[in-house]
Amino acid sequence: MTMARNKTMLYTVILAFTFIAPFAFPAYGTQLATLWLMIIVALTWDMTGGQMGYNSLGNIFFYGTGMYVAALISIGQVYDIGDYTNAAGGGIYEFTDAQYFGGLFLGVIGAGIFCSITAVIIGFLTFGLRGPYFAIGTLGVAIAAGELVSNWEWVGGGQGIALPVYPGDLDIGKIFFYFLFATVGVSVFVFVKWLYSTRFGAAINAIRDDEEKADAMGIHTLRYKLITWAMAAFFVGMAGGISAFQLIHFEPLESAYQTINLGIFMVVCVLLGGKGTLWGPVIGAILFHLFKEVTWNYFLGWQWVALGALIVVTVVYFQDGVMGWLMHKRPEWFGIRVEDKAAAEAKVEGRA
């Protein structure tokens, strides 16, 4: 009973902190928003990665696509897109407050839905690939998208798209974006927490552990794979959409389809924190974000090298991540197994 009470208390505290943070640390508004972005992409990556065994290097595709779809939807409602991108957002294109917020919300939701659909289509084509081929294939999709979009003049080509600035006080704007990201982030967490407790969650774990066996037992593996990726894409797409408005101006290769930045960060976050666990991606995102912020300030110029080194070191030495290490050191905390082993053995003795 105390275990459950403790858990509820813990969640309440975290939720409260989430709510208060941007007001308590106004200078860090953007960083906190970025932290939530990291949490979102890490949790969603783990859905197909650590939980289902399909390690994608191309989830960033949904982020970039989400950016573009959200931007296009919001612009397209008011102006002709071709004209807008041609002028590269120079001054003459004004948006009323209603148009801005309406466009933002519609765009973000639309981005999520569009990305879900593309996930199903791409998944159909790529889920026959396993292991490293799936990773390389998805990476290829993300890179190809970036390259093709940067040649597509209608959506701004290599220049990207410039969106309107937040109408109002910019500090309030920071808080606004923080809460957008935090809302999506909390939603993802609550969603996957529930999902992993259902039969669906068990099924995707089975796919991870032995897909051939799952097939042989009649599990609709393709169905589960597509749905899982579609759900992950939904959240990532929304995050991309929000990012578009937060960044105001984004480019196809640097901001949208950033395969070697956010694209790989999401994987490192999960590895650092612990693949296939609920809290792993969250802890990993927090640790990684802290690391990144610190190195940016102190490594001057060598930060990318440090990040690359972090990836290598994490992959080589800390494969199980924080949660994995904890499970090793303190199995009691996760300890249903250890308890029941003792109970099971007691039962055996009882019978004998």
Binding site: L125, G128, Y133, I136, G140, N151, I264, W304, V312
Partner: protein, 304 residues
Amino acid sequence: MDQILGNLSLLVEFPIVNLKIIIDGVMIGALFVLVAYGLALVWGVMNVKNLAQGDFVISGGYVSWWLVEQGFPALLGVPVAFIVMWGIGWVVYKLVISRVIERDLFTSLLATFGLAIMMAQILNLLFGSDTQSVDLGYDTLFFGDDDLISIPIAKLIGVLMAGTLAVAVIVFMKSSRMGQAIRATAQDARAARVMGIDTEKVYAFTFSLNSAICGAAGAIIVMVWLIQPFYGISYSIRAFVVVTAAGLGNLPGVIAAGLGIGALEQYGAHIFGIGYQQAIAVLLLLLVLFIRLIQQRRNRQVLK
């Protein structure tokens, strides 16, 4: 769209342009073959899919470029890059690769990806983000009507050097004891160990050899084309396309695929524009993966 149709009609009206494209493509393709061979070697022997392959290539290019900047003759760059990259490859093996060989495949992929990021960034910090090349100062040969087909002698030399290196490596693999040990380990590492082969040495040697091959290729590339710290990933992708298309252990296939991709890229650049060159390389990758997948599906298998 009109642009594309215009480019296409050019090919039909002037057949000789096709020849130019194919020759250009084959010359670049020769380097792809070298890099792909190295990738296949490491893949086949240690089951490591080296995503940093292209970055080893670019590194070799910079070794040669730096040498030339110091006043050394350009052609010396190739053997020096070979040796220097051998050493770097050995260090990378000991520090990173040796620890991910026994693990699952995603681990080695991710480790080499991290390595790729590191290497590209280090090169960027050391040498700046401008493209570089080394001018050998040789003439160009012209053929065909209106001198449409131009082959710089430097490129020809580059291709010849690539070919020589390739032949040397193949002869080495076939006739030397280490070559045999490598092939044995590739087939069955455990059996090789039982027979007394030091597989650890074989792995280190193989990876260093691959790094050296990449280095030499890079040194050739800097002479006849361009290098830039972030060009690595496209060479990695091309090498993957070749190996996926041809399969491991299929040398003629690797040669055909490498040359073919070189030609296809040139065609693509001609028809769609130079901005699409990267996109074409990646699309080829997806196409090849998809074709292999369909082939497997016929047998109700998947692509592992």
